[in-house]
């Protein structure tokens, strides 16, 4: 067994959580591997040390502060305007910004002097795009008649290139 795998098994081994076969495996490895058995010793020590860390008493001053919390909180009831604190929170800012931009756009619709200027504009845009799409579709339909022509020109130009190459190599 490799030492890297032992890393995950040592603590369960200490806590007696391994199956008998795994346990045997670990013990076999520990007999041969010095660094792992040292690590096991260290782990044991860490567990003991952690358990031996002291518990601290709460100081009377703190205890008194804790007792008086409800009374303090009653006095310090937040004034009403502070209920809107969340507006200033950093996390709320992008949302508020987005809402503002949206409101500006909406105001174009409702308050623009030319009445429905914007909706007119959008309608025009939409009509234009439809026109373009129709044109493209028409062109694609015309393609079958157009293709042989294209093929002919391509073939001709290829022939031309081959011809000039041949001429040049003859000259050399």
């Amino acid at each position: 067994m490799k030492c890297a795998r032992m890393e995950k098994l040592l603590l369960p081994y200490l806590e007696n959580e391994l199956s008998p076969e795994k346990k045997m495996e670990v013990e076999a490895h520990l007999r041969t591997c010095q660094s792992c058995s040292r690590e096991l010793e260290n782990l044991k020590k860490v567990s003991l040390l952690l358990a031996s860390l002291p518990e601290f008493e709460v100081s009377p001053a703190l205890q008194a502060r804790l007792y008086s919390l409800p009374a303090q909180l009653k006095i310090e009831r937040r004034p009403r305007w502070q209920l809107f604190d969340f507006f200033l929170k950093p996390s709320a800012q992008p949302i508020i910004a987005a809402a503002c931009i949206l409101l500006i756009f909406i105001s174009f619709f409702f308050y623009h002097p030319d009445g429905r200027y914007l909706s007119q504009f959008f309608k025009e845009k939409i009509n234009l795009t439809f026109g373009r799409i129709e044109k493209t579709v028409a062109r694609v339909e015309g393609l079958p008649g157009y293709l042989p022509l294209v093929r002919k020109t391509v073939v001709d130009s290829l022939k031309n290139i081959v011809q000039t190459r041949a001429d040049m190599s003859e000259k050399i």
Partner: protein, 201 residues
Amino acid sequence: MKSRRELEARKNRLSIRSESTLEKVVKECLEGKEEAWRLLVNTFSRRIFNMAYHFCGRYEEAEDLTQEIFMKIYTSLSKYDEKKDFTAWVLTLAKNHLIDAYRKTKREKSLRDELDEHLQAALTPGPEAELMATQERQSLWRGLGQLSPEIRLAIILKEIQGKSYEEVAAIMNIPVGTVKSRINRGKIQLARLLSQEANQP
């Protein structure tokens, strides 16, 4: 006859043992009874303060954190769902606050109290204390500050406060397997730190 002060002190030591009385106390607390709040504080202050101190490593900061956590408990008591375990609810709240506070104050995180008077005073001299060199304990205490916050909290709850894997999983809201692997990773990290420090005179 006992003096009034002694009686007061005894009243302050009272804490709640069973979960069913806890629920009653929470209700009373919501009705605004001061006695009930005192009982809640007595029951949890030590546990939460220790959790905070082991987590952040500085006494004053731990006291402030404890106060903030109790403030949160008080203000969100009304949101407590009676079907859930109250202790786990409180500790989850504490854990969330500790991790949030850790993320907010990015400065001087590795700076922990030395083995100072708080620590010394709390150490009870006994066979265990003699067995463990003070220095090793000190380096372990410092090593705690180098673990990532999630791993550190899992170790504090499981190893120092003696909770079971299942309880830790419930408090931290993660699967038991994750708790186990976190504690494993943390302990190995600590063990390596110890051996490193042992090699450096």
